[in-house]
């Protein structure tokens, strides 16, 4: 089963890639109550996500459902943690496909996830660029 063209989203269009409320809640557990923790989290995400994304790509290319599951599971969780809910939903979808060993379907969704990831990265960099 292949995704229809209308499912492919333009990285510049659609709803906001990041729910700022998710990141705002980290002020409550920030040692000084500011955005410092949120920014640190975002940086960690930016640093680590690229690697995980590559693992997903390899897993699909290597048709390895378990490696795919492990990587998507991990990324799903951290993606949700930075408030990128749409992207997190895509990773959840990918995880379910990995469990079901639907590698071809996963390849289609992964393309979509990569687009959304780009949008998220832009949004995250914008966020970091804001005054701390």
């Amino acid at each position: 089963m292949h995704a229809t063209p209308k499912d492919i989203r333009d990285p510049q269009a659609g709803p906001a890639p990041i729910d700022r409320k998710v990141l705002d809640q980290y002020r409550e557990i920030d040692p000084s109550g500011g955005p410092g923790l949120a920014h640190r989290i975002v940086r960690i995400y930016i640093d680590s996500a690229a690697e995980t994304l590559r693992q997903i790509e390899q897993a699909i290319a290597g048709r390895d459902p378990e490696a795919l599951r492990q990587a998507t599971h991990s990324l799903k969780s951290s993606t949700a943690s930075i408030g990128a809910m749409s992207l997190a939903d895509l990773f959840r979808e990918l995880e379910a496909m990995a469990k079901a060993a639907r590698i071809d379907d996963a390849a289609v969704v992964f393309d979509e996830a990569r687009n959304e990831y780009e949008r998220v990265l832009v949004a995250l960099r914008d966020l970091l660029a804001e005054a701390p």
Binding site: Y26, D47, S74
Partner: protein, 698 residues
């Protein structure tokens, strides 16, 4: 652990989540260590032990479940391990518990709440830990306590029981579900429940002491204490206090018992003497204290050594125990009680208490018995030792009003005995010694008199006024003492009565008189013999049987025997008196009332007695006919006897005038020196043959 923040090891392969958990927990005040996977977690934990571990389930390599199972095995059940797992992953949660997780946290994590959540978890852990520690302390305490412990409900049912090992006193060891009355004797259970009830309402007296016999037969003492738990349940601590009781007993022994002889010591004796003095004062009783000192004991100690000396004291104490044994002295006392009348004051000084003293001689008798017992040689260490004792006696209330005075005076009397040449006994009052010795001597002489045949009979004729002949004789005992010659009955009869020898002597008299009478009857000069019965004899339950036996033995027909009893004997208005008299009369034996007029018998009582004869006492005849008062009394007695249907015998007739006067008053018979003094049996036949013209002289 309270000085430093709680340490938490967090294992998650995913860096964002890891960082968030760290931030959230540090915000809540915990110290956080981070591990990137399962192996890392185990490694770090062995380096720095933490108070809690948070594990992500999904980790490459060892997953969370595996790490959890590993740590659980290593750290025991109470260590808190928390799994972090997806909200939707129910299967993972189930497996977390199987692996031994304490709790779980679901993703997405509510970050602001995470710290609170973990704090709650720690609090729970702490409560559990505290509980375990408390339980361990309690268990250790129970282990260390010498008490058995029962928890009882309000009805007295055992809820749980912690029992000291080896306690087999109870017939059944109490188990939960038992009622206390099922495992303890009824009276003890009752007292326990009473105390438990008091404890529940906050009362006093919550200790119950009781004794139980163990299966091995030994008696154990227990002390049960009650404490209220919550107004419903009671905690009952039972302690075996046998050792304490034994110690108390030992202390008591040390304080009150002489360790060498086992006899009561001075303190004990003085206390007992005080008690007995109070009792004697209350009851108007007398008592005696004997103070005994072994003669020449110091020489034995010095020459043969203290070992022999101590042995001698122990053996002497044993002889003293024999001396006061109740079978010999006071029948009502039990042996232990009798021994408590003894004491060793110290050294070679002993004391003996004689409670309820009847006569001063009783104390002397005991002293003599002790002398006799001690005089037998002691064989000590193969050596024969003879020892005597000097004994002093003080009497209450005569010689002192309190224990101190009595002991002091008995001691003084003892020194007097030493002065008198040792091996003797002295009263504190010298006169008493003399008197008591005389009576004791008299007693032992009387005893010997029976054996040696020193008694003999005399008879005083009674003149029958109708016939002018002697038809009856009063039998009188005489004692010829080998040294003192004739001893007056006035002297020895009272002594015989007090010592109880009167029974033996009376029987001897009865037998002798019956034998004589039988001889005279057989010789064709029948005569009645009148034998006096003392009160003691009359009270003997076997009197009637004894009289019948003697009549049979001597071959005398009952009609020739008359028994004279005094008013005093008959005063006891009892069924026994009446039965005895009736039985004797039934047999044909005559009964005379002696010394009539000297007692206080009621006429209605007299009238019911089965008497044949009344004897007018000599005191009323004396001075007749001039003594108008006596004359009036005699006339009254004569009239009375006539009315009651008794015949009369007048005693103490000394003159012809008196004889005539009483004859004219219609007295049946006369007795007295005017007729004849008492004479020996040999002189009787002649008197029986004689004829007194007095009857015709009117």
């Amino acid at each position: 652990m309270n000085d430093r923040p709680w340490r938490i090891l967090v294992a998650d392969d995913e860096p964002v989540t890891r960082e968030l958990i760290k931030a959230a927990l540090e915000k809540a005040g915990f110290q956080v260590f981070l591990a990137e996977d399962g192996e890392d977690a185990l490694r770090q934990f062995s380096d720095v032990p933490c108070d809690m571990v948070l594990l992500d389930v999904n980790m490459p390599g060892l997953n969370g479940h595996q790490v959890c199972a590993h740590l659980r095995r290593q750290l025991g059940e109470e260590f808190p391990i928390v799994m972090v797992t997806g909200m939707d992953d129910i299967d993972s949660i189930r497996r977390a518990y199987d692996a031994g997780a304490t709790d779980f946290i679901v993703k997405p994590v509510n970050w602001p709440l995470l710290g609170h959540r973990i704090r709650y978890l720690f609090r729970g852990v702490q409560v559990v830990n505290d509980l375990h520690a408390a339980n361990a302390r309690n268990a250790a305490m129970l282990q260390a306590l010498p008490d058995s412990l029962l928890r009882l409900n309000a009805d007295g049912m055992v809820l749980d029981a912690h029992l000291t090992t080896g306690d087999t006193a109870q017939a059944r060891r109490p188990m939960p579900g038992d009622h206390i009355s099922g495992v303890l004797p009824a009276d003890i259970a009752h007292r326990m429940l009473k105390a438990a009830e008091l404890a529940r309402i906050g009362g006093d007296g919550l200790t119950v002491n009781y004794a139980l016999s163990r299966n091995d037969g030994t008696e154990h003492h227990y002390e049960a204490r009650m404490a209220d738990i919550n107004g419903e349940e009671t905690l009952c601590l039972v302690r075996d206090v046998t050792e304490r009781k034994n110690a108390e007993r030992d202390i008591h022994r040390l304080a009150f018992v002489d360790s060498l002889t086992g006899l009561p010591n001075r303190l004990s004796f003085v206390q007992r003497l005080d008690r007995e003095i109070r009792r004697a004062r209350r009851e108007g009783d007398r008592l005696a204290v004997l103070f005994l000192d072994l003669d020449g004991f110091k020489n034995i100690n010095d020459s043969l050594g203290h070992g022999i000396g101590d042995l001698l004291l122990q053996r002497a104490a044993d002889r003293l125990r024999q001396g006061v044994r109740p079978a010999d002295l006071v029948a009502r006392a039990d042996p232990l009680d009798a021994e408590s009348n003894l004491a060793r004051l110290g050294g070679d000084e002993f004391t003996v208490l004689v409670p309820s003293l009847h006569h001063a001689d009783d104390a002397l008798g005991l002293a003599h018995r002790i002398h006799d017992l001690l005089r037998r040689p002691f064989i000590l260490d193969g050596r024969e030792i003879v020892i005597t004792a000097s004994i002093g006696i003080a009497l209450f209330p005569d010689d002192g009003a309190d224990a101190e005075a009595l002991l002091m005076h008995a001691d003084t009397a003892m020194y007097h005995a030493k002065d008198e040449g040792r091996d003797n006994c002295q009263f504190y009052r010298t006169a008493l010694t003399v008197e008591a010795i005389r009576r004791l001597t008299l007693e032992s002489s009387l005893r010997q008199a029976i054996e040696r045949g020193e008694f003999f009979m005399a008879y005083q004729p009674q003149l029958d006024l109708a016939s002018g002949r002697v038809l009856s004789l009063e039998a009188l005992i005489r004692w010829r003492h080998p040294e003192r010659g004739l001893v007056s009955p006035m002297e020895f009869i009272p002594a015989a009565e007090e010592s109880g020898l009167i029974v033996l002597i009376g029987e001897w008299v009865l037998r002798a008189a019956c034998a004589d009478a039988a001889r005279w009857v057989a010789a064709g000069t029948p005569v009645r013999v009148a034998v006096n019965l003392s009160a003691v004899q009359f009270m003997q339950p076997e009197l009637v049987r004894r009289v019948r036996a003697i009549l049979a033995e001597t071959g005398l027909a009952a009609q020739w025997l008359e028994l004279e009893v005094t008013e005093g004997v008959l005063m006891e208005d009892s069924a026994t008196t009446m039965t005895t008299l009736k039985d004797l009369r039934q047999d044909g034996i005559q009964i005379a009332l002696d010394d009539f007029g000297t007692g206080y018998s009621s006429l209605s009582y007299l009238k019911r007695l089965p008497l044949n004869r009344i004897k007018i006492d000599r005191s009323f005849v004396r001075g007749l006919p001039a003594d108008k008062e006596n004359l009036a009394i005699v006339r009254t007695i004569v009239a009375l006897a006539g009315n009651l249907g008794f015949t009369l015998v007048a005693e103490g007739i000394e003159t012809l005038e008196q004889a005539r006067l009483l004859r004219d008053m219609e007295c049946e018979a006369l007795q007295g020196s005017y007729i004849s003094a008492p004479v020996a049996a040999a002189a009787i036949p002649a008197l029986l043959a004689a004829y007194w013209p007095l009857a015709a002289a009117a």
